[in-house]
């Protein structure tokens, strides 16, 4: 009696070689991630060791030349900018997806989508350029200095909007037409169908899109650097200039050395940690819905 086990690969020599080669490549790619982590940890080790990481949360503030590395102010600024951007972009993005799917005249749907795809691909420097030359002076007219948390929030919102809109549109499109027709047959108005059936059914996809947008907002460097003012302080009002963690790294890396450099790497590590948690969450939501 011979047992035959499931094997995806056929037993030929060519395939065994191919499996080995591609397996090696895949391994290299996974190692890449490990490398990124390892390098970050190695470079930031001097400030992390011996409980040094507490330095990031206590102290007078961010004064690297005197060894002060309290980055709480920048952390708050990062969170404030990202959350603010999500607060603006997610409702707008979902609503424009609802528009595309339920309210738009048919000739408008494709052009609108193409524009969204184009906008999703516009480089962050271009958004930053526009923000710097148009948005910041506008805000300055209202309340100087213009380069502020508000401009950061607005520019970030603009940048993540296409992501939210496109993923929400895909999620809404995936809602079975039968559900929608069933709702209509029950006499629900369009509002009722959208709010009562479509959005709840699409909530997993929309949430995933929001998480992806959050990851993008947190990791964004250039656009925020160009419009936020870059003063290290905990924001007390929307019009305060702020510096986010990513911008801090970009601004100070060119001349940082020793502990200062290690501190910058450590803040990069922190960012990676936050993003990884979000990625894991997004993955969990996806599998949870399938379960």
């Amino acid at each position: 009696m011979i047992w035959s086990r499931h094997s995806i690969s056929s037993p030929s020599r060519a395939d065994a070689t191919l499996a080995r080669i591609t397996g090696g490549i895949a391994l290299a790619v996974v190692i890449l991630l490990g490398l990124v982590l390892m390098l970050l940890v190695r470079e930031s080790w001097p400030v992390l060791v011996d409980g040094g990481w507490t330095r990031f949360f206590v102290g007078d503030g961010w004064f690297p030349s005197s060894g002060q590395f309290n980055l709480l102010a920048m952390l708050w600024a990062t969170l404030a900018a990202s959350l603010g951007a999500l607060f603006v972009a997610v409702p707008l993005g979902v609503l424009s997806a609802v528009f595309s799917r339920f309210y738009s005249p048919s000739w408008l749907i494709m052009p609108l989508r193409r524009v969204m795809v184009l906008l999703a691909g516009i480089p962050s420097v271009v958004y930053g350029l526009w923000g710097l030359t148009v948005l910041v002076p506008l805000i300055a007219n209202w309340e100087p200095p213009g380069a502020s948390l508000l401009s950061a929030i607005l520019i970030l919102a603009l940048m993540i909007l296409p992501t939210v809109a496109l993923t929400s549109e895909a999620a809404l499109a995936a809602v079975a037409t039968s559900h929608l027709q069933g709702a209509a047959a029950l006499g629900l108005s369009r509002t009722g169908i959208v709010l009562g059936v479509a959005l709840p059914a699409a909530r997993v996809g929309i949430l995933t899109g929001a998480l992806l947008a959050a990851m993008r907002a947190l990791g964004e460097t250039m656009a925020v650097l160009m419009v936020a003012g870059n003063v290290v302080q905990t924001p007390s009002s929307l019009f305060d200039p702020v510096r986010v963690l990513t911008a801090n790294i970009a601004l100070e890396m060119p001349y940082a050395a020793g502990d200062h450099r290690a501190a910058l790497f450590a803040s990069g590590l922190l960012l990676m940690l936050i993003v990884t948690v979000l990625a894991w969450l997004a993955g969990r939501i996806g599998t949870h819905s399938n379960a």
Partner: protein, 286 residues
């Protein structure tokens, strides 16, 4: 021992030339020499048994029909014969299968050579998204045939065999997917025939086709008798009666597929030994 197996296969897969001939008719249509010997075969997917304890012999040059209701393991049985079950996740096979004296359940077997010798036609025609010519030519090249003239000759022969040559000879480079369903299925048969197999496995080859195309393919299958050993799964009892020399009746008992009866097609239909068989072939149940 591995070398012995390989050697046996080498001699078995040397191309045997079958000459073309017209439709062969007559009562003494096949030789009752077993070519495929199945012994106590069981198949399960992810631990769930779908086929149990099947033993039968498929005779050389004959057309054997596998009949029975859906779900009793006929397709699984077919897939074990060319080890296609290797590709299915979670599939376990137990038992012995001898083809021309070689144990094909041996894990050291050269499966690629086996599959050249044992061709398979699927229920839904699956020509590759290539031209008609390349559909037949590509497998030939992959199996080692290189000269242009030899390839062209085989392509033409295969297409003539299935009756497609006159229909497609002037558009061999057109996409195969542009053909009709019946033509696609015949192309798939031609593709398998070009490799000069000795056994053909067919999994409900006509069920996805319209009645006319179905009739054409059925007539083609009849022409394959004697030159090839054909094992065909079919739900169409009338087709089985028309086409097959032998029939094997499968049925589900206790949620597992089993072989109930096997014998000459005529006798299975006219005077079945088993009650279940009688019930099925007269249409009472199943």
């Amino acid at each position: 021992m591995m070398h012995d197996t390989k050697k046996l296969w080498r001699s078995a897969v040397l191309p045997t030339s079958y000459t073309l001939s017209n439709i062969e008719q007559g009562a003494a249509c096949c030789v009752p020499i077993p070519q495929i010997q199945v012994e106590n075969l069981s198949v399960s997917y992810h631990g769930k048994s779908v086929l149990e304890g099947v033993s039968l012999d498929i005779n050389k040059g004959c057309i054997t029909a596998l009949i029975g209701p859906s779900g009793c393991g006929k397709t699984s049985f077919l897939s074990t014969l060319n080890r296609l079950t290797d590709l299915i996740p979670g599939c376990h096979m137990q038992g012995r299968i001898n083809i021309d004296g070689v144990d094909v359940t041996d894990p050291r077997l050269d499966v690629l050579a086996l599959r050249r010798k044992v061709g398979m036609i699927f229920q839904k025609p699956n020509p590759f998204p290539l031209s008609i010519r390349r559909n037949i030519e590509m497998p030939l090249r992959e199996h080692g045939l290189r000269q242009r003239s030899a390839i062209d000759e085989r392509v033409e022969r295969a297409l003539r065999d299935v009756g497609l040559w006159e229909e497609v000879r002037d558009r061999l480079d057109a996409p195969a997917l542009a053909l009709s369903g019946g033509q696609q299925q015949r192309l798939c048969i031609a593709r398998a025939l070009a490799l000069e197999p000795s056994i053909l496995l067919m999994d409900e080859p006509c069920s996805a086709l319209d009645p006319i195309a179905s009739a054409v393919v059925e007539e083609l299958i009849q022409r394959l008798r004697n030159r090839y050993t054909v094992v065909i799964v079919t739900h169409n009892l009338a087709q089985a009666r028309r086409v097959a020399n032998f029939a094997a009746f499968f049925w589900m008992t206790e949620r597992v597929g089993k072989l109930i009866e096997f014998g000459r097609c005529q006798s299975l239909f006219d005077s079945p030994s088993h009650d279940l068989t009688a019930a099925y072939v007269t249409g009472i149940s199943g």
